[in-house]
């Protein structure tokens, strides 16, 4: 009930929500394959690689929050910073593992 009231007072533009989610997922898949290149070059293995992914993803989310959302992600995402940090994190992991293993094989071994 509370949320319904909130939505009546401050209506949300669905189109913009979709656009922002799509933008963040595009950026995330691009950046995570890039991070995979770095992880493979550094020769990270098992847990270290996944920890690297999550730490660097937090860093890129921070970049998006500062440069694209102007430090106020509440205006662009309903969940604020949390949405920015967590959205499409697992989806980016696939591209990350792909380039990670590729570059580990190319560079490390």
């Amino acid at each position: 009930m509370d949320e319904e009231h909130e939505l009546l007072i401050n209506p949300v533009v669905q189109e913009s929500v979709l656009h922002n989610t799509k933008t963040i997922s595009d950026l995330r898949s691009l950046l995570s394959s890039l991070l995979g290149i770095a992880a493979g070059t550094l020769g990270l293995e098992s847990y270290a690689g996944f920890i690297f992914y999550f730490v660097m993803s937090a860093f890129t989310s921070l970049l998006m929050g500062v440069f694209l959302a102007g430090g106020k992600p509440k205006e662009y995402f309903r969940g604020g910073w949390w949405d920015l940090l967590s959205s499409d994190l697992i989806g980016g992991l696939a591209g990350y593992v792909l380039t990670w293993t590729l570059f580990l094989g190319l560079v490390g071994v």
Binding site: N10, P11, V12, V13, E15, S16, V17, H19, N20, T23, D26, L27, L30, L31, L34, L35, I37, A38, T41, L42, G43, M56, F59, T60, L63, M64, F67, L68, A69, E75, Y76, F77, R78, F103, L106, V107, G108, V109
Partner: protein, 135 residues
């Protein structure tokens, strides 16, 4: 992907520079591991290490991390944008940037027509038309 804002020269230079830096660090890492794997290990009998891969030197690690961070900054800055989800901010932005927002129908009602402006516009159009006809 929509690209409403043009990419600035500085961002392009940043992307170029960090790509070169990343390629260089990958090449360095490759050369480093390659050299170590071809060289015979020093004093092979004294200690057994299960992982023959040697640690990368600190400068290659730093170069990789810094180049990837710079490249991420460059990619984030290259023409992406978020749209405000609050209706009032979105409508205000549309009215400022495109001249008409979602409430355009309220402002273009019959009662709001400036009839004198329309008349003078029509008169000037007629005058212009006749002038072109005469010549």
């Amino acid at each position: 992907m929509s690209n409403p804002t043009p990419i600035s020269i500085g961002t392009k230079l940043l992307i170029l520079f960090s790509s070169v830096l990343l390629a260089h660090s990958i090449y360095s890492a490759h050369e480093h591991t390659h050299l170590y794997s071809t060289r015979p290990p020093p004093q092979a009998s004294t200690s057994y290490s299960p992982n023959p891969q040697h640690k990368l030197p600190l400068d290659i690690i730093l170069e990789t991390i810094i180049s990837v961070s710079l490249l991420s900054i460059g990619i984030v800055l290259s023409g992406w944008e978020f749209r405000p989800i609050q209706w009032r901010k979105w409508a205000g932005q549309l009215e400022r940037e495109k001249g008409q927002g979602p409430y355009e129908f309220l402002e273009s009602r019959l009662g709001f027509i400036d009839i004198r402006a329309k008349r003078s516009e029509f008169a000037s159009w007629v005058k212009e038309h006749e002038a072109t006809k005469a010549t």
